[in-house]
Each structure stands twice: as C-alpha cells, then as structure tokens.
C-alpha cells in the first residue's frame, strides 16, 4: 500500500545550500500494509513530522521516494488526507464550511458536498455545530472537524500529525477511542505521528520508533494486543506494560 524507500531530507539555513542546518531524515525505509495502523514515535526533532509531510506530498524529499499503490508521490493526492497538529481549520469558515473544503477543492457540487459533510460531522459527534466558527468551539471539537474533513474524502491513507497533542488529557483519551471506532468502521490505513508512548501502543498495529540527528528509524515494534481495545482497561494489561517498557528502553538507548 505505502512504501518509503531510502528517504532522506536535509534542511538548510535560510535555504542556502552551503549551510546545512539539520539532517531531518536519513535513509528511511518503511512499508505499511493496507488497513494497518502505524505510529511514528520519537522525541521532538526526530523528523517524524517531516516524514509525514513528505508522504503527504507537502515537502519534497532530497533522496529516495515514497510509493502509494506503486506510484511515486510528488504532490498531495486525494488518496492521502492530512489531519494537522493545530487542527488546521480555516478561521473564516464555519464548521460545515471547513468539512466541505476538501470536497469543494475537488469540485464536488454544493448539495452533494453538504450532504457528505453533514454525514461525517454526525460520525464525529458534531451534529448541531455546523454553523459555529472554529474559535467558538473547544480544541477537541476543532480536531473532530479536522478528522471529519479528512474522512469526507474517503482517503486510502489517513495521515495524522500529532492530532491530539493540543487537547487536554481527558479529551485526548476520548478522541483516541473515537478514532479507533471510526477506523474500525472504515477501511483506512492510518499513519499516526505522536510522542506519547501510551497513545502509540493503544492505537497501533505497529510502532515505528525514531531517533534524531540524523532522523532515522531505530526499531519497529509490533503491537499484538487484541482489538477492539476500547473495551475494558487495556492499559492495565501486563502485555501493554511490557510493550511500554520495551519502547521506553528503545527511545532511551
């Protein structure tokens, strides 16, 4: 489904090719199966956001390539949709207008995109908030709008860049559970960037541990916990604790 091959990215100071500032990614290879939920985990500056932005087609790589269904990625495409760290909503659009945005760009007729958008707003539990502006609703609700907007395009791959980093702890747990439920209902592949170990284990089939300077993949940890994970207290499971300890060790080393 998704293949990343020998990907490297260097950032330069003031875009000056004589002043390399940071090797954000060095020789990253990764492959993700259809329907898989993969987390990219690592400290700040390990290049996880850079990696997801390259996969999204928002940033060109310096070496290597990204293949989606065998085709190289050079620009954003409708099969990949991004959910942003700071929600990425357009402040001049209402909740409904924001969800519609993706379909509008694609040229879907007004009536149809309204209908689809309402359906996805309903799915993320925001029915009745269509006419609010982003600043009038809470952070958790704003990110639900971001998720509804991404889902409305029925992407093959959902790219999530620390989507729950800017909401409070309780809302975060709630959103994680909702995400898993939505993911179970759709057949989407998810790439999820986070720096929370618990979040990555709770959500993923596989956790890709990265480290920084240069940004590269240290280890891939398969999470073989049963699903659905929202029933009972999976975080109290000894296997969860083992995975947590193992990943923490990997991050530290």
């Amino acid at each position: 489904m998704l293949q990343v091959r020998h990907l490297s990215k260097v950032f330069f100071e003031q875009n000056d090719p004589r002043k390399p500032g940071l090797v954000a990614l060095y020789d990253i290879s990764l492959s993700v199966r259809k329907n898989e939920f993969v987390s990219l985990l690592g400290p700040s500056g390990c290049g996880k956001t850079t990696l997801i932005r390259i996969v999204a087609g928002l940033l060109p790589a310096d070496r290597g390539e990204v293949l989606v269904n065998g085709k190289p990625v050079t620009s954003p495409g409708r099969e990949r949709c991004m959910v942003f760290q700071q929600f990425g909503l357009l402040p001049w659009r209402t909740v409904l207008g924001n969800v519609e945005f993706g379909l509008e760009i694609e040229g879907v007729a007004r009536e149809e995109r309204r209908e689809v958008s309402r359906k996805y707003l309903d799915l993320v539990g925001l029915k009745g908030f269509e006419d609010y502006y982003p600043h009038q609703i809470s952070g958790g609700m704003q990110q639900r709008v971001g998720i509804a907007r991404a889902l409305s395009k029925k992407p093959d791959i959902l790219l999530m860049d620390e989507p729950f980093g800017a909401v409070d702890a309780q809302t975060r747990e709630q959103l994680q559970e909702e995400l898993l439920k939505i993911w179970a209902k759709t057949d989407t592949t998810v790439i999820f960037v986070t720096h929370s170990i618990d979040e990555s284990i709770y959500l993923s089939d596989r956790v890709v541990v990265m480290h920084s300077r240069p940004g590269c993949i240290k280890e891939e940890v398969v999470v073989d916990l049963p699903r659905p994970r929202w029933e009972g207290d999976i975080k109290a499971d000894p296997r969860f604790a083992q995975l947590r300890a193992r990943i923490r060790e990997s991050l530290r080393a």
Partner: protein, 275 residues
Amino acid sequence: MALNALEQEALTALDLSRPRPLRLTDHLGLLRASSVVLFLILWEVFGRRVNPLFLSYPTAIANACAQLLASGEFQRQALGSLQVYAVGLGAALVLGIFLGLLMGRYRLAEYLLDPYVYALDATPRVALIPLLLLWFGLGAQAKIAVVFLSGIFPVLMNTFSGVRTVSSGLVDIGKAYGAGERQVFTKIILPAALPFIMAGVRLAVGRALIGIITAEMFTAVTGMGALLIRYSSAFATDKFFVPVIFLALLGVLLSVAVEALQKRLAPWKETERAL
C-alpha cells in the same frame, strides 16, 4: 445555545432579575445623544456673541444651508465632487488590491514594483498636485488623479502585508487538500487577507476624501473644496460651515458603510473582539 433544564433551574435560583442601581454605562446611547445636544446648545449661545466673520452658530448655518439647497448650487457642486471621488477611489481600490495581492504573493512582482510604491507613498500627495494640474488641467481628470493617488497606497500596503501575514500553515491546508495555485489564492490567501484589505479600504476612503478636497481647493473652480475657498474668501462663515458639515457627515457615513461591509465579509473576526 439554549439552556437545559438544570441550567434553567440554576438561573431561577440565582434570580439575576433584581433591580440594579443606576449605572451610567447602561445608557450609553442616551448619554451620547445628550452630549451632542448640549454641545449644539452651547455653540448656539456662545456663537451668537462672536463676530459672524469668524464664527457662525447652528441656526445661522441651518439657514445658510436652506438657502444653498434652494438655489441648487450646493447639490450641483456636491454631485460633481462625489462623482470624481467615486471614480478615483474605485480605480484606487481595484488597482490597489490587485497590485497588493500580486506583490504579496510573488517575489518577482514585489521586487519590480516596490521602489515606485514606497517612493510614491512616502511623497506627500500635495507635492504632486501642481504637476498633476499641469498635466491634466483644472477639470475632473486632475482631481481623479489626486483622489486615485491618495487612495491607492493605504489599500495596496495593507493588502500586501495581509498577504504576507498569511501563515504557511494555512497555505499547507489548501495544498494538502489538493488546491492548485489559483485555488490557494482564492480560497486561502484572499479570505485570510480580507480583514487587512478591509482595513486598507477604510483608510483609503478617508484619504481619498482628503485628496478630493485638497485638489478642489487648489483648482478652486468646482466642487466642495472650491465652495470652501469661495465662502471663506467672502467671509460667509455660515455658508462655509455647510460644506464642512456635509463632509463630516459624508466621512462618518462612509466609515459606517465600510464597517458594515467588513462585518458582512469577515463575520468570523467579529466574535473574536474583546469589546
């Protein structure tokens, strides 16, 4: 949002409907109106004691106004001024927004145009009026040129900085959802810069009004500015105040209109305000 049953109960228990002591801030509109009335009364009383060559008073001005309106002279001059104003300002807004967008978005346009823009903007417009009169004569063309030059820079500069402040994050959202350059421009840059553009329009509306009056005072042939010169040279102070008050009212009206437009075009900004 509607209150739920528990909130309703809490509200009843709180009983916020108790009579409040009289507060001045509860009657702001009334206070403003009485202040204006008081000012007019004081002006009338003291204005009558001053030599009419130097100062007039409200009832005399009202009389003068009735006279001028009856002769049709005032309307004719006002219409002439407004036409020139509308044409000059219209052209300034269209070209100002266009160039501002272009310079804000494209480095090439910025580097090619900014020496002229900054130089012309820094030059006091009054300094250019004699030259413009030389080129275009005493008719409408010269005045349109002055209004245009007065109005274009505030809107151009504001549009430019509006486009410049659009964060790359917003542009990324557009790109991530597949927007091309044209869509990024119309669906991200333009709405994001709109509050800045409107602030520029508001400034331009005022500057252009100054522009038209200055130009007309120079030419002293037609328009509001010419009336000001004519009445003041004739020491007809009561008549002099008629165009002054007309211009003040016009300025206020335009400002209110632009504000209403701003609210309509950028409603998301409205609810973010602190006061």
